[in-house]
Symmetry: C2
Subunit: 650 residues, 2 copies
Amino acid sequence: MSKHRVKFLPHERSAEVEDGTILLRAAMDAGVHINASCGGEGVCGKCRVIIEEGAVEGGASERLKAEDLEKGYRLACRAAVKEDTMVRVPVESDIDASVLNLQATPRKTAHIKTVDFEELKEAGLFIPPMEKIYLELPEPNPQDHLPDVTRLVSFLNLQHDEHRLVVDLPVIRKIPELLREENFRVTATLARPVRKDGQTHIINVQPGDTTGQNYAVAVDIGTTTVYGQLIDLNTGTVMSEYGEFNGQISYGEDVITRLMYAEKPGGLEKLQQVVVGTINKIIDKLVSRASIDCDAISSMAVAGNTTMTQLFLRVNPRYIRRSPYVPAATIYPPIRANDLGIELPEHVTALVYPQVSSYVGGDIVAGIMGSRMYQSEELILYLDIGTNAEVVVGNKDWFACAACSAGPALEGGGIEFGMRAAKGAIEDFSIDPVTLEPMNLTIGNMRPKGICGSGLITIVANLFELGIIDNSGKYNQDLDTPRIRERDGVWEYVLAWQDNTQIDRDITLSEIDIENLIRAKGAIYSGCQTLLEEVGLTIQDLDRIYLAGGFGSFVDLEKAMTIGLLPEMDPNKITFFGNASLMGARMAALTNRLRRDVVEVTKMMTNFELSETPSYMDHYVAALFLPHTDLALFPKLKSRFKNRTAAQKG
Amino acid sequence: MSKHRVKFLPHERSAEVEDGTILLRAAMDAGVHINASCGGEGVCGKCRVIIEEGAVEGGASERLKAEDLEKGYRLACRAAVKEDTMVRVPVESDIDASVLNLQATPRKTAHIKTVDFEELKEAGLFIPPMEKIYLELPEPNPQDHLPDVTRLVSFLNLQHDEHRLVVDLPVIRKIPELLREENFRVTATLARPVRKDGQTHIINVQPGDTTGQNYAVAVDIGTTTVYGQLIDLNTGTVMSEYGEFNGQISYGEDVITRLMYAEKPGGLEKLQQVVVGTINKIIDKLVSRASIDCDAISSMAVAGNTTMTQLFLRVNPRYIRRSPYVPAATIYPPIRANDLGIELPEHVTALVYPQVSSYVGGDIVAGIMGSRMYQSEELILYLDIGTNAEVVVGNKDWFACAACSAGPALEGGGIEFGMRAAKGAIEDFSIDPVTLEPMNLTIGNMRPKGICGSGLITIVANLFELGIIDNSGKYNQDLDTPRIRERDGVWEYVLAWQDNTQIDRDITLSEIDIENLIRAKGAIYSGCQTLLEEVGLTIQDLDRIYLAGGFGSFVDLEKAMTIGLLPEMDPNKITFFGNASLMGARMAALTNRLRRDVVEVTKMMTNFELSETPSYMDHYVAALFLPHTDLALFPKLKSRFKNRTAAQKG
């Protein structure tokens, strides 16, 4: 996609944005505030800008008079960038103009990294796990009456130098007819051993030459959502991708309620069936979207947290939630997908990522493998943020990990107007430092319904940076704006008046909401600190941060540092891997090298139970401020605060 | 059991017999003829003998007058030997007395050999495949929260020096509760790898110390009968044994009809279910008879012919009966018994003996392994005689094998009064050389119903030896006895008059019956000859014969040589292994050494299709005489004939 440069006047700030981006988003990226509380539906009509150079698409509105339209006025929330553009933001007061320099820094999100098959090959990491070989076997006759399987195996021995071959029973069952279907011309699928001295299994035989069709399914079983990918094993390409809510949600929103349900009679069996049902639905979509023959699927790789993995495999998860929090196993042997109820050909084996502990599971291990953190020379902090935030720190030589119980605030839970990152969620925000009017950006550019995690972080960071809330998250009650008010004894800021929302109330952010966010970010930050301290390191020793999880791609990194969720670091040193668990599953399906390495990596991972680590509570309490009790940990913020105080005084 | 010596007068011949043996059997063993056509039910009253020394149990009868009883007369067919005894056979004519020396030699059957666990150990062949280890694991606590499986595996690593352990999913599923049942004191069952570099699987974990209970099931799937044994893996003892007719009989009497049924829609599935049903019935009996806990069964070993094996595994057998007679496979991987429908704990894996060809199957391979022929320095001929006779020749360095289509005569099929070796079958026989009156011995000592295989051989051998039939199996029509007669244009000998039988007809043996026997024995003998010739050897090169199959333990070896079924050889060099297939299955369950060796042995076995071997037909035609066209092959018989002719002339 082409990119365009948008320059905002009088700020003299620019952003480079994708074709079609709305002007409001471009302003946010450039660090320019435009009043906009309706989230982009053109309802409030406050986001008037003047197009001075270039042209935009849309942005006309009945709220703009014909003469204004002619002058170049547009609503920033309805105007899409189609070329390089110069935009003037009307500055309605001198005061506004004077605070132009107080604006937040331009928005910075993490660089998104995906796996590259070619890169894998170049790095010498590509050891194909499933190979197809086309064979033209001699036909039997009275002088050559070798058994069918022996005929196949001997031919592979002699003509293809293949040894230590094992032929699985499903193949033996169908081989007599298969060989004769196209006159003993067949394609054999060879599943390679993970260890060099292992055996190669012939898992499938198909009539004719089908070497061009060789696929795998990768699945990430999340507590909330299950994602699948269909992968072409010949090219590494993702043929199709699909996600579904995990059907288990009906039996419990989170891990703990699922674990409780699993203890009921028949509960474990039910949860297993339900998640398998979800996976089957996904596989069905993947296959039909890619229009492939299901029999051409050779393998399946699965990653999920410890609870999801045990439920998927129907392994009693009773002791996961009971101190001392013991999971059943770390490593699971390969399992026939059919045996689990997965609707794939019977030759397909499911490879399941190993677990480290009850709360650091296969999704994290998959992320470590998929991101190739396990080969890094640099010291990396790997963070997967959700209800439970998992933290891994280490490099190619060692790993320490821990799970922090962050609570659901970062996913919009426990926040009065919190919601998941769905349409209508305020996901980005800026505030006019003088008028205290908001600029809300919502997912789908529509009137707001609530606030999602990334929005929450940005709002709190903005409020804090401008001194609207103090470092304990309390509002400055002296500010002169109707947006800051007391309701039922609790102070709050009105993000959007009822008229501008999709709901029947004002959307607000209260001190209680902020407190919940602070607790969540405090748990994560202090978890990282504790883990590092346990291995004799500090936050300052980190070379790089890897972010994983649904969270991350939309979070403004600087804002996350401002509130003390992330350690202060050059945003270029922060890499986002998105669904790293799915990526790890895909990589495991693509190369045996990963399957070999993962066992060692899992053994290397030392797990710390934070609740059993005495220093954790001290670190946690110290982190219950914005950004932290110890401002020395956030030197850039400290220096911005100094400058701001100086500017305000001056 | 104690043995007693029985001496017969005036013959001056003795036999050593088990306590309780009836006198008629003792006479047969001693080579003494006593007229007896009712088989031992005391009906004909012809078998009167006088007890001169010692005492017998029973033998009184209303057919004996009181004064005769007092004189010591008893019916030999009703009198059991209880101590050393001297018995006089009343000689009713001078003629009888003069032919005393023409009697056949005493009966000789093959030495029966069984496996000895201690012998196995001494020979260095004992590599336990399934070991149980009792473990007292440390309990988890906040400082030690290893996952359950990791706890078990680490303990085995550190305390028992066990490495390369794999824990199977069924174990992982139940391990959380199992460990806690008796405070982390458990017994783990370790399935050892066949190859040294393989992995050890932990297939079961039980609470407490169950090391004393470790069992295996061995099964021989015969076309007609399925036999099972429950084996104590700690001691090698057979705990219980049970046999059942193969439920597949309802779908076809023999292999060919089963193969045809398997081609019908759903036929293969049906046959698989039915034989599994039979096996489940057997396992149920084995377990209840031995009163063991089913969960203590660690493994299962199965042997059967190629068709039985493919049907058991539900492997398409379509090409077994179609030229060029190609089976699906030789070697089958271990298969979860549950997956086949076998009602054993889910950790039990079925080891299935490999096949050589369509008609030399796992039962034969099992026999080769179980008899340890594969370690022999001597050149051995291994013969498994049934409807199909399988022949293997070789020693520790090589093997050649073939199947001869013998037809069912040796199992009583195609013989007018033929029957299986069941109660009422004439199984042994002698004939008075002068009166031509028979001495019938039946299974169960009751009036005859028919003739079984071993009886048939003895009858024909006796008739031939005395010149009652010639070398083409035709009766001497000049003999003066009502027992030799023509019926519907076919000559026959009356073995028992209707009154003395359990049926409503005379029991006879016709020239057609004899012809069928000659064809069967000719097929087997010429099969052996052809096979030996193909490898550059002759019958004379053989050091030893191993007999296997239901046939064998009751066959009089000298008689079998007389008719030319077996090559002439010192009977001490013939060993009988009974159900060698079951023995092989049992051995495979007892030691991994066999499982390792069997793959090499199977590869060493060169299969010859007799129908494709040009010389076979010549050998076959030459063998269609008693004992053979070439009498030089039977030197002892030739010399007996010479002496007899001389004696008759003299």
